[in-house]
């Protein structure tokens, strides 16, 4: 890129001149005692090394400006996918308003084909303090600031899993507010959306432990923070759990999503992610097993 | 080995005159304080019209004409005090300072009355809404500066009254009056921003 090559050139030229001067003009023991000629300045030289940097600055500025406007003022194509992102201490809420999907922590977006672009446009804000959405291989970062809406877009062409994390210090577990962006092929993305649009109405009759778990879930304080579509649970303080079991991780990317980990999390979230705002519900062993069984049915 | 370099001492030439350090120091302080006020004024302007609830400036503010006249006149009286002192007129200086103290106190009284009215009749406090926050902090910061100046002026007044002030103190009194003029200039800005533009 132009900036890199210009800075490298400046480094080589100025650094080279410095090295040269420091070697050539060093004091040698064989030198006479006279002081060297005292030169106080030269207006021409001063002018030249003022004007040339100004020209360099103008060039860099103009190219940078063009990129800024190309990025931030880019027109939004018709095929764009809209996602609303809300930052929380220490998890990510994602809503697809036109598709009726609410999820958390793992973002799925379609790969975009240059001939028929389907970039993802994110509208971002925060429910508490400032956060920042940074997935380096997809885009630069943009901050999520309370009482303010920022927008950015991503236009990936390669499917895959892209990792990132919150990039604005937001409290104790800033380090584990991880980002997992799954760029799916258009077909996979459509399938994922379809699944996410379903409420959690899986038939639990063959799974008595899970049924018990559901009863405990709906009867405890869980529902004051969490939502499961298709049940009375409609809390919005914590992540939406409707399709919890379809995610690869829990704790916003911090912990692999296995039944043992899930159980340990519910038992004491702060043991796994100290500073997490989810309190331990102090459930007994049996209830923990039941809840875990229920949660693993939330595909 | 000890070596003493000789520094030539000049005997001829024009007098070497440098600015008065009190005046320079006070201008520096004024620059710093002006920057603080600028930030509070910026916050005030930024939050104009953004309060989510509560009384608006137009609903509760009245032009503080009396207080403003008092405060701005006090700049004249303090200037007169300095001018008098320069000429060795101690009595004139005392009168000028006394007048300044009186006018400054009157200003503070009118501010206190205004705040009493706002708090008890409109229920506007610093935590009511963004207007309350920015209004009380800006006007309060200014009032704090008035109080500090007033204390210094009272001290100067009593020194002058008891005959301890002479012509030689004129520059020092000028430094104090410079501070006072700054406080008045800030009031002009606050007046315009809060009571004219803001309403």
């Amino acid at each position: 890129m132009l900036v890199l090559s210009v800075t490298l050139a400046i480094f080589l030229i100025v650094g080279g001149l410095l090295v040269y001067a420091l070697i050539k003009f060093r004091h040698r023991p064989t030198d006479s005692d006279h002081e060297p000629a005292q030169i106080y300045g030269s207006t021409q030289i001063e002018l030249s090394w003022t004007v040339i940097p100004i020209l360099i600055v103008v060039t860099l500025f103009l190219t940078t400006t063009r990129v800024i406007w190309q990025t931030e003022a880019a027109p939004k194509p018709a095929g764009a996918v809209d996602v609303i992102v809300v930052g929380h201490q220490f998890w990510w809420e994602y809503k697809y308003p036109k598709l009726g999907v609410v999820t958390a922590n793992e973002l799925h977006i379609p790969a975009s084909d240059p001939s028929h672009p389907t970039p993802t446009y994110l509208e971002m804000s925060s429910a508490d303090v400032s956060h920042s959405f940074w997935v380096p291989r997809l885009a630069g970062k943009t901050d999520l600031i309370p009482n303010r809406v920022n927008t950015m877009w991503m236009d990936p062409s390669q499917p895959g899993l892209y990792l990132g994390q919150c990039a604005q210090y937001c409290g104790t577990q800033h380090a584990k507010m991880l980002l997992r962006v799954y760029v799916d092929s258009p077909a996979d993305f459509a399938a994922w959306i379809k699944k996410q649009q379903q409420p959690a109405t899986r038939d639990l009759s063959g799974n008595p432990l899970a049924q018990e778990g559901q009863k405990i879930f709906l009867g405890t304080a869980c529902i004051s923070c969490h939502a499961v579509a298709g049940t009375p649970a409609n809390g919005r303080f914590g992540p939406d759990l409707t399709h919890l079991a379809s995610r690869d991780t829990i704790g916003s990317g911090a912990i692999p999503n296995t039944p043992q980990n899930l159980r340990a999390w519910v038992a004491d979230p702060n043991a796994m992610k100290p500073g997490s705002l989810m309190p331990s519900m102090h459930l007994n062993d049996h209830d923990l097993d039941a809840i875990t069984a229920y949660l693993t049915t939330l595909q | 080995m000890m070596q003493t370099n000789t520094i030539p001492i000049a005997i001829d030439e024009q007098p070497w005159v440098l600015p008065n350090k009190g005046i320079v120091g006070m201008w520096c302080l004024i620059a710093a304080e002006a920057a603080i006020f600028l930030i509070f004024v910026t916050a005030y302007l930024f939050y104009l019209g953004k309060s989510l609830t509560g009384p608006t400036p137009a609903q509760v503010l009245e032009l503080p004409i009396v207080g403003t006249i008092c405060l701005l006149s006090s700049s004249i009286t303090v200037h007169m005090a300095v001018a008098a002192l320069r000429k060795g007129n101690i009595r004139g200086c005392t009168l000028g300072l006394g007048g300044t103290v009186a006018l400054a106190s009157a200003f503070l009284v009118t501010t206190a009355q205004e705040w009493h009215h706002l708090i008890y009749d409109f229920g506007l406090t610093i935590r009511t809404n963004l207007f309350g926050t920015t209004y009380y902090s800006l006007v309060g910061l200014h009032a704090t500066h008035v109080i500090v100046g007033l204390l210094l002026l009272i001290a100067a007044f009593f020194f002058s009254l008891s005959g301890r002030v002479t012509e030689h103190h004129a520059e020092r009194l000028e430094v104090l009056s410079l501070y006072w003029h700054f406080v008045d200039a800030v009031w002009v800005v606050v007046f315009l921003v809060v009571y004219v533009i803001g309403r």
Binding site: L4, F25, N147, Y169 | P8, I9, L18, P19, I126, L141
Partner: protein, 561 residues
């Protein structure tokens, strides 16, 4: 303009004092208003905090050496980076630089003391109290998680993380109040410096004959007025929010988190220029002496310094490229930031031209200045990279930025500061520092510095954000974090060598005499250490290098003015 008479001998002050012994040493230092003693107190105070903040950095590097480490808890780590940053900026860099200024400025302009000695003492003690208050927080009552109440909001304390609801307890208050006190002290010293430079110069010393060091401190002090006050204002607002329930930064009531960012960075960016200008000041004095040539382009250096002062007040939102300013706002701040590189570059070129054609003597002060020149060049170039907003959208808040600013502060400011220590130590104490230990210090520090901060750019480029207490394995960051840690240890050892050198040389260093470096400014005309009153008789100068004129009567600077 020649002075008319032959000189009087400077009064020999080696005769023992005949007064009776004065008050106790402690009382003397506690109540002194002498700029030299106050300057030394600032410097010693800063060195103590340098060691403390350095230890905080070491602990962080240990925690980050391997992924998913458990050396310290996340709460403690978050306190460590907050305290490290806050301490280093407010209780190390500011005091040590203004301490040097305090000591040197009156001596360099032929004055007896600063303009307001009592204000000087007040400024020191209130800053000192601020630092102690900040560290009291470690021992104070339970903060958010009972791990003492040291602040854990980052050194820039973004709202609304600092609101009472997100930072209960008093940790944020310790940050706010201690930094507020430090700001008051800094403002007082700045007033003193400006008044001293304008009103206390000796005869013949016009503004364009002042040592460049004095110019740079004057510009830095003027910037203090413009920049520290916004922070003071913002902190008052934060206190009002936390304690009187006001809504300056209360986003639930319509307040703005972005407003804090603007106010903080209107302070924060000029602040780092306030730190770098005294750094330039030291380099401006040392390079000419060790190149045996006058500084090239004195008027251009003055103009460039003033230009930096002005332009740096307008660049602040390059810390906010990612907050959604919009393309117009971003464009303006890109422009301003790139423009500030022009006067800065002019200074680099002038230093190069000073060395060019000289006879460079590689004593320890010059070694550190050479390190400074290369490292500041690199730091400036990574700064230009970051000034391109799209570049910054990737690298802001990553380890690339951390590497950049440490490159400036450690590679630039600290190196130049070390040079200043070695250069002026003989004047302050009357003894030379050990050249051998100095060289060990220099080379070890260079190696450690480059190991840590060159390689620190890489995790940033690989996506590692800052202020994280741990990281997942498999991101490719592990090797770099280990190298960074090793470099940190080496720097720590080098610093200990330096501290040892300071203490050892005080007792065993060879005697220095008044002018060991064959230098040209007025402070080298007094004894080492200078007498309490600095100059027995007010000197009179006719050029920017009064001692050069004396030593080279056939080729005086005053002829070329």
């Amino acid at each position: 303009m020649a002075t008319s008479t032959t000189g009087l001998e400077a009064i020999d002050v080696t005769a023992p004092p005949t007064q009776p012994p004065g008050p106790s040493l402690i009382y003397q230092w506690l109540t002194t208003v002498d700029h030299k003693k106050i300057g030394l107190m600032y410097i010693v105070y800063a060195l103590l905090f340098l060691v403390v903040a350095g230890i905080e950095a070491m602990i962080m590097r240990v925690q980050l050496a391997v992924p998913n480490n458990h050396a310290v808890s996340p709460q403690v780590f978050n306190q460590l980076f907050t305290m490290h940053g806050t301490t280093m900026i407010f209780f190390v860099a500011v005091p040590v630089l203004f301490g040097f200024g305090n000591y040197l400025i009156p001596l360099m302009i032929g004055a007896r003391d600063m303009a307001f000695p009592r204000l000087n003492a007040f400024s020191f003690w209130i800053s000192a109290f601020g630092g102690l208050l900040l560290y009291l927080s470690y021992f104070a009552g339970s903060g958010l998680y009972g791990a003492g109440a040291a602040p854990d909001v980052g050194w820039f304390a973004y709202a609304p993380l600092t609101a009472k609801v997100f930072s209960p307890g008093h940790s944020s208050d310790y940050w706010t109040l201690s930094v507020l006190l430090s700001g008051i002290g800094t403002t007082g010293t700045a007033i003193n410096i400006v008044a001293t430079a304008f009103c206390m110069r000796c005869k013949g010393m016009t503004l364009m004959r002042m040592p460049l060091l004095v110019w740079l401190f004057v510009v830095a002090s003027c910037m203090v007025f413009a920049a520290v006050s916004p922070l003071t204002a913002a902190q008052i607002m934060l206190c009002l929010d936390r304690y009187l329930g006001s809504h300056f930064f209360d986003t639930q009531a319509g307040g703005s988190a972005v407003l804090w960012m603007h106010f903080f960075w209107i302070f924060g960016h000029p602040e780092v220029y306030i730190l770098i200008l005294p750094t330039f000041a030291f380099v401006n004095e040392i390079i000419p002496v060790f190149s045996r040539k006058a500084i090239f382009g004195y008027p251009a250096m003055v103009a460039a310094s003033v230009a930096i002062g002005f332009v740096s007040l307008s660049v602040w939102a390059h810390h906010m490229f990612t907050i959604g300013l919009g393309p117009a706002g971003n464009t303006f701040f890109v422009f301003a930031t790139m423009v500030v590189s022009v006067p800065t570059g002019i200074k680099m070129f002038n230093w190069l031209a000073t060395i060019w054609g000289g006879k460079v003597i590689y004593r320890v002060p010059m070694l550190f200045c050479v390190g400074f020149l290369f490292q500041f060049l690199i730091a400036g170039l990574t700064g230009i990279m970051l000034s391109a907003a799209p570049f910054d959208w990737q690298l802001s808040a990553s380890y690339f930025v951390v590497a950049h600013f440490h490159y400036v502060i450690v590679g630039g400011i600290l190196f130049s500061l070390f040079g200043a220590f070695y250069y002026w130590y003989p004047k302050v104490t009357g003894r030379m520092m050990s050249e051998t230990l100095g060289k060990w210090h220099f080379w070890m520090f260079v190696i450690g510095f480059h190991l840590t901060f060159d390689f620190m750019h890489i995790p940033g480029l690989l996506g590692m954000p800052r202020r994280i207490y741990t990281y997942e394995a498999g991101r490719g960051w592990e090797l770099w974090n280990i190298i960074i840690g090793i470099g940190a240890i080496i720097q720590g050892v080098a610093t200990l060598i330096f501290v040892y050198n300071l203490i050892y040389s005080y007792f065993r260093g060879p005697e220095a005499g008044p002018d060991p470096w064959d230098a040209w400014t007025l402070e080298w005309s007094t004894t080492s250490p200078p007498p309490d009153y600095n100059f027995a008789i007010e000197p009179s100068v006719s050029s920017a290098r009064p001692l050069w004129d004396l030593k080279h009567p056939e080729d005086q600077d005053s002829r070329y003015e």
